[in-house]
């Protein structure tokens, strides 16, 4: 089985978010970048398929040279090959178009992407990629098994979960639950050394029309101080929620 894991290069979850150039660009100053957490669950699940079922695992990212340390980290975790599409990842459709070519050229049976990245939160790339390639697609995937050419998938739905079967090729939008957080891999020294020798192929982007462009960023207005209520006067909180906040 040939697996492709899509890796987004995103600010660490604890990053303070700031903007530059008149609030039109994300300010990367002092920001640590990591593998998108939803992709990390997918990468770890792919490692399981590699170790238990002899799958091969490639990773791909759409981004400039600055994203290569993130791809190298994925190689250090155990991926076999990395591909970087040499273009700034603009809107989700642009990224999906780039991945479409990688998927078609590579003949992958299974593509795992995070259900969304934690920077732009579009949540559209895996679904668009499935629509472009014609592969089966399951989003918000929290369980994935493959036997022969059939996958059994569990996905989160509002208020519960749903199990389904689908033939490969399959694209999943994955998240926490694909593996437990405690099973996530941290690259060890041997992995880091080996990753240096693994192939990282840079490919040129294909043309794709951008339909959506972020023209301005803004931060939420600063919040006022908290109103503290005494634990001995809880009725006051009920009054405030009813009369002041008007939410009950």
């Amino acid at each position: 089985m040939k697996i492709l894991v899509c890796i987004s290069h995103v600010p660490d979850t604890t990053s303070k978010i700031n903007f530059s150039e008149g609030d039109t660009k994300f300010d990367t100053n002092g920001v640590q970048f990591v593998i998108n957490p939803n992709d990390e669950f997918g990468l770890t699940r792919a490692m399981w398929f590699k170790e238990k079922q002899g799958a091969s695992v490639d990773v791909v990212n759409v981004g400039g040279a600055e994203t290569e340390p993130t791809l190298r980290k994925a190689l250090a975790i155990g991926a076999d090959n990395a591909i970087r599409v040499n273009a700034e990842a603009t809107d989700g459709f642009f990224v999906a178009k780039q991945l479409e070519k990688v998927v078609k050229d590579g003949g992958y049976d299974l593509v795992i992407a995070g259900r969304e990245s934690i920077d732009y939160n579009g949540g559209m790339v895996p679904g668009m990629l499935a629509a472009l390639t014609g592969a089966n697609f399951v989003n918000t995937c929290i369980g994935l098994e493959v036997e022969g050419d059939t996958a059994t998938v569990t996905r989160e739905v509002d208020g519960g979960k749903e199990t389904a079967t689908a033939k490969l090729p399959l694209i999943v939008g994955g998240q926490k639950g694909l593996v437990e957080e405690s099973d996530l891999r941290i690259p060890n020294m041997r992995g880091i050394m080996m990753a240096r020798k693994k192939p990282l192929t840079v490919v040129d982007p294909v043309a794709a029309e951008e339909g959506v462009k972020t023209v301005q960023f803004e931060k939420p207005a600063p919040k006022g101080d908290v109103t503290l209520v005494s634990p001995d006067n809880i009725g006051e909180l009920v009054d405030l929620l009813h009369n002041e906040a008007k939410v009950i």
Partner: protein, 322 residues
């Protein structure tokens, strides 16, 4: 030209979010000087959409579509959009709507803005505000494609009554077998619980609850408020509560009107998940908990004493305001 809205239903009845997306679509249609058409799949109360400004309902009634299939639903909505010559299509932000929308965007060659929180700032060019960076910021996006697809965040716009008479028209899209290639074999869903996505009020518990055996208190508070229950990341990691209840950057985002956090200190990743909630209340015995900086109202106190008293006071309030 028209604005098309996909009004999600379950068990034959519209979800609350359907009325919200309809209300939003009505405002967008007014901005564009056009009408609203809803596409409704297997719902029985289609006329009700007129109350929220829907002029026409394309009623799709099909046994094949009783079980949700993202690909098939995307095909239905696409055909409805083409039939109506829709220039703007509005969907919600439930898990299923977010499953459908990307395929719909590709099928319609539409630019897609998800997590939209406000009406368009302008319609020419078409600019709309959405959340970004896990609710730590907003981005104004310009959609330049001919057809624009908007995914409206839950509880971002509210429900606005705008009574018109909705004409219901049966619609029979051609949806081939190739759209049903993912076969659902089992569904495990608590039908009696309010889902986090739909909830106007969310009550959430953290490590301060000390163990899963104490969750009755959270459920009791949720019951009296008609709220959904949720939890912090450590709580789901420890298996006290299911992953589906984990709120935060890598869990679920919450955009409720009221979010009550009990025994949650307020890590930055948790706060990112609840930033879109309008009013936040924190109950924690640690006055230094970071959540107090993000909350609107707070009680510094022992959750095991405060929550039962709060339930009692809310019951009194409800009895007096019934």
């Amino acid at each position: 030209m028209s604005v098309l809205v996909y009004t999600e239903s379950e068990g034959g009845n519209f979800k609350k979010a359907a009325f919200e997306v309809a209300s939003y679509a009505k405002e967008v249609a007014s901005m564009l000087g056009t009408t609203v058409t809803a596409v409704s799949i297997n719902a029985s109360n289609n006329e009700e959409l007129g109350r929220y400004g829907v002029d026409k309902v394309l009623n799709v009634s099909s046994g094949n579509l009783e079980q949700f299939s993202a690909k098939a639903y995307a095909e239905v909505i696409k055909q409805a959009a083409e039939k109506e010559n829709a220039t703007v299509v509005v969907v919600g932000s439930s898990i299923d709507s977010k499953f459908v929308a990307p395929a719909l965007a590709v099928n319609l060659n539409a630019g897609y803005a998800s997590n939209v929180v406000a009406l368009p700032e302008s319609t020419a060019p078409f600019k709309v505000k959405r959340t970004a960076f896990s609710n730590k910021a907003f981005g104004v996006v310009e959609i330049s494609s001919d057809v624009k697809l908007i995914g409206l965040s839950s509880n971002a716009f509210g429900i606005i009554e705008n009574e018109v008479s909705a004409a219901v028209e049966n619609f029979e899209p051609a949806v081939g077998d190739e759209n049903f290639s993912v076969h659902v074999t089992a569904v495990d869903k608590a039908t009696d619980k309010v889902s986090i996505a739909d909830a106007e009020v969310v009550v959430s518990g953290g490590r301060g609850l000390k163990g899963p055996e104490n969750w009755g208190m959270i459920e009791g508070l949720a019951d009296v408020l008609g709220a959904a229950t949720a939890c912090s990341k450590p709580v789901s990691d420890m298996g006290w509560r299911p992953h589906g209840e984990h709120v935060g950057q890598t869990g679920k985002p919450v955009a409720s009107n009221l979010y009550i956090a009990v025994g949650i200190s307020g890590a930055i990743q948790h706060l990112a998940g609840i930033n879109s909630s309008k009013v936040k209340v924190v109950i924690n015995n640690d006055p230094e908990a970071p959540f107090f900086k993000a909350a609107d109202y707070g009680i510094v106190g022992d959750a095991f004493e405060v929550v039962p008293k709060l339930i009692e006071k809310l019951k009194e309030f409800k009895a007096n305001n019934a």
